[in-house]
């Protein structure tokens, strides 16, 4: 009896809180609605990966076909090549692109001239805000066969006669892709490390100076260990996205000559899905990709927890 009245009082209090705060629910409404329309409805639609989707039948009316599309994809002649292209590109990107921002952050941190430091920061952060279209456009201009600045400079130092074929050759696609990415992301990616470095306890440095440590020794034995957790966490995150090459840049850089190496999973999904209107098949390929990434993230995280006792969760 007492319990019941207490429960009732509690409910009344709760109701009062809800009615008093009715505006807050109104404030949440747009977010809830937009997420429902553009996130939850597509998530619900992922089931067409297991169906034979026909527009006029809708999602529920389309026939259930199980793993047919997944089997078709893994049996595809192109399957090994697609996986290879995607993985090679991301491994290359990771190996070449991961250490440089750390180097930049350490160098900026050690730089004794504040003005020079500011200039370097301002300039290196800037390319992050340039659009992907412009970056790829710049690549096309700079590496243009006869009039590009690269061809001109190479001719000046007698390393090239005739035309530059970089843009047309399949073998240079990966280099172009990765190094232009490094160019545009170098400064931006160093910010995280720089802010981690600003948290290094100055007493550590003072103590080291008293003990007669050189700057190099301080950089190696104080700065680097202090940002190690940040490095590991970012590495885990990056490795979790290993089989995920962003669509935009790969698509923009594709041409008929480099298609052999530039066709990655995301561009394949786009072409099959929207250009060939194979909705179910394309969704299945995309889902396959996401599942791989998910397991990759989990296993990298578990591995890191075992080895270094650092993990995301």
């Amino acid at each position: 009896m007492i319990k019941n009245s207490e429960y009732r009082r509690h409910t009344a209090k709760m109701l009062r809180k809800i009615t008093r705060n009715w505006e807050l629910y109104l404030f949440m409404l747009p977010v809830v609605l937009l997420l429902f329309l553009f996130h939850y409805m597509p998530i619900y639609g992922v089931q067409i990966a297991f169906r034979e989707y026909k527009s006029f039948r809708g999602i529920w009316g389309s026939q259930w076909v199980g793993l047919k599309h997944f089997q078709r994809f893994t049996n595809l002649n192109m399957f090994p090549k697609l996986m290879r292209n995607t993985i090679l590109l991301s491994v290359y990107q990771l190996l070449a692109g991961f250490p440089l921002p750390i180097l930049l952050a350490l160098a900026l941190n050690a730089c004794a001239a504040p003005r020079f430091k500011r200039i370097v920061q301002t300039v290196t952060y800037a390319p992050h805000f340039i659009s992907m279209v412009v970056i790829v456009g710049m690549l096309n201009l700079f590496f243009a066969p006869s009039t590009g600045i690269i061809a001109i400079l190479l001719r000046k130092i007698n390393l090239l006669n005739g035309n530059l074929t970089t843009l047309m050759s399949a073998s240079s696609f990966r280099h172009l892709y990765v190094w232009s990415g490094i160019w545009s992301g170098l400064g931006w990616n160093s910010i995280v490390y720089l802010s981690a470095l600003s948290g290094v306890d100055p007493y550590l440095h003072e103590a080291a100076i008293v003990d007669g440590a050189t700057k190099l020794q301080r950089c190696r034995h104080i700065d680097l260990p202090c940002i190690a957790p940040t490095i590991v966490i970012l590495l885990i995150l990056r490795m979790g996205n290993m089989v995920d090459i962003g669509f935009q840049k790969a698509y923009l850089m594709q041409n008929s000559m480099n298609l052999d190496v530039s066709e990655v999973l995301s561009t394949y999904v786009y072409k099959q899905g929207l250009q060939n209107a194979q909705y179910s098949y394309s969704t299945a390929v995309n889902l396959f990709n996401s599942v791989i990434n998910f397991f990759l993230l989990i296993s990298v995280n578990a591995f890191s927890r075992k080895v270094s006792e650092m993990s995301l969760w």
């Binding site: 809180k17 809800i18 705060n21 505006e23 807050l24 629910y25 404030f27 747009p30 977010v31 809830v32 553009f38 996130h39 939850y40 597509p42 998530i43 639609g45 992922v46 067409i48 989707y53 930049l104 160098a107 050690a110 730089c111 004794a112 200039i119 370097v120 300039v123 290196t124 952060y125 800037a126 390319p127 805000f129 659009s131 279209v133 412009v134 790829v136 456009g137 710049m138 096309n140 201009l141 009039t147 600045i149 061809a151 001109i152 400079l153 160019w183 170098l186 910010i191 995280v192 802010s195 050189t214 190099l216 935009q248 786009y270 899905g273 929207l274 909705y279 969704t283 995309n286 889902l287």
Partner: protein, 301 residues
């Protein structure tokens, strides 16, 4: 003996300093030169650019490229489109984000946890390209211009940033005092929270503006009408389209059109400048804020 080690230390430090500055100077040069080259190529004489005379400084000042850009028919239309899309995106994003961020910062908000879970799920799972496309189609939003900013205007990360900012910058006592005086949530949000949160709001507004300005993917997929295309799509057609590239190569081949091809080349450089100029104008503000923004984001989520 002590003196000897000291000298060695000084020498080591000197080498270290030189190396550090050399690394920075090298990286600076590598990042800066392409940007600088675009600028000088855009204001140089078209002939000088295509013959490789322009390397360090502009040669034969000329605004031929900019003239071409101004005369290109679809540039203005798309420029205006992008400005409209960007303004809409910024408006919608900030309003939606601030409202949700405020609601989630309230302690006595019943059901807060449910909303948080609802939002967090979308950070880890997404439908992917095709299901999103089919959803947009079934909602009848194909070829309707608001779709270019509707899809991306809710960012859970931004909402969390705003919530954290409000929680740590607006004292609870102020809230209680306001409500004792009979202030409503709407009034409190408008007259107290928004003015006090201007730093974080401007960061979010600037970032969504830059994101929208640079985006082309949604427009490519969801829009058909040429008159609705944003600037980046026109840029793509002019700068990266393969057939356009091929045509230029062919044009350079024929003597008659040489001047035309040279003009087209310097137009591309001018186009890059014209398209990137607004971003470069807000860049100083961005730079002031974004280090802060990044660290704010890393507090939670």
């Amino acid at each position: 003996m002590a003196n000897h080690t000291k000298i060695r230390r000084i020498r080591s430090d000197l080498i270290f300093d030189i190396t550090v500055n050399a690394i920075l100077a090298l990286l600076l040069l590598i990042v800066a030169y392409p940007l600088w080259f675009v600028i000088i190529a855009s204001v140089s004489d078209p002939t000088a650019v295509s013959f490789g005379k322009v390397i360090v400084w502009p040669v034969g000042f000329s605004l031929e490229g900019y003239k071409e850009v101004v005369n290109y028919p679809s540039i203005w239309r798309s420029y205006l489109n992008t400005i409209i899309y960007t303004l809409c995106d910024v408006g919608l994003t900030t309003v939606v984000t601030v409202m949700a961020g405020y609601a989630l910062s309230r302690r006595d908000f019943v059901g807060k946890k449910l909303f948080v879970i609802y939002m967090t799920i979308t950070m880890f799972f997404s439908g992917g390209l095709i299901p999103t496309y089919l959803t947009v189609r079934s909602l009848g939003l194909m070829d309707k211009w608001p779709i270019v900013f509707l899809l991306g205007c809710v960012s859970v990360r931004n909402i969390v940033i705003v919530r954290t900012f409000i929680q740590s910058n607006i004292p609870e006592s102020l809230v209680e005092a306001a409500f004792l005086d009979g202030c409503s949530h709407t009034k409190f949000l408008l007259w107290v929270v928004v003015p006090l949160s201007l730093p974080v709001i401007s960061v979010i507004a600037l970032f969504s503006a830059v994101g929208q300005w640079n985006s082309w993917f949604n427009a490519m997929i969801y829009l058909r009408d040429e008159n609705m295309m944003p600037l980046q799509i026109v840029l793509r057609n002019l700068l990266v389209n393969q057939t356009a590239m091929m045509r230029d190569v062919l044009e350079t081949g024929g003597n008659n059109d040489l001047a035309q091809a040279q003009k087209a080349l310097s137009m591309k450089y001018a186009l890059i400048i014209v398209a990137t100029l607004p971003i470069m104008c807000v860049y100083p503000f961005l730079q002031r804020f974004f280090v802060k923004g990044m660290t704010m984001g890393s507090i939670k989520g």
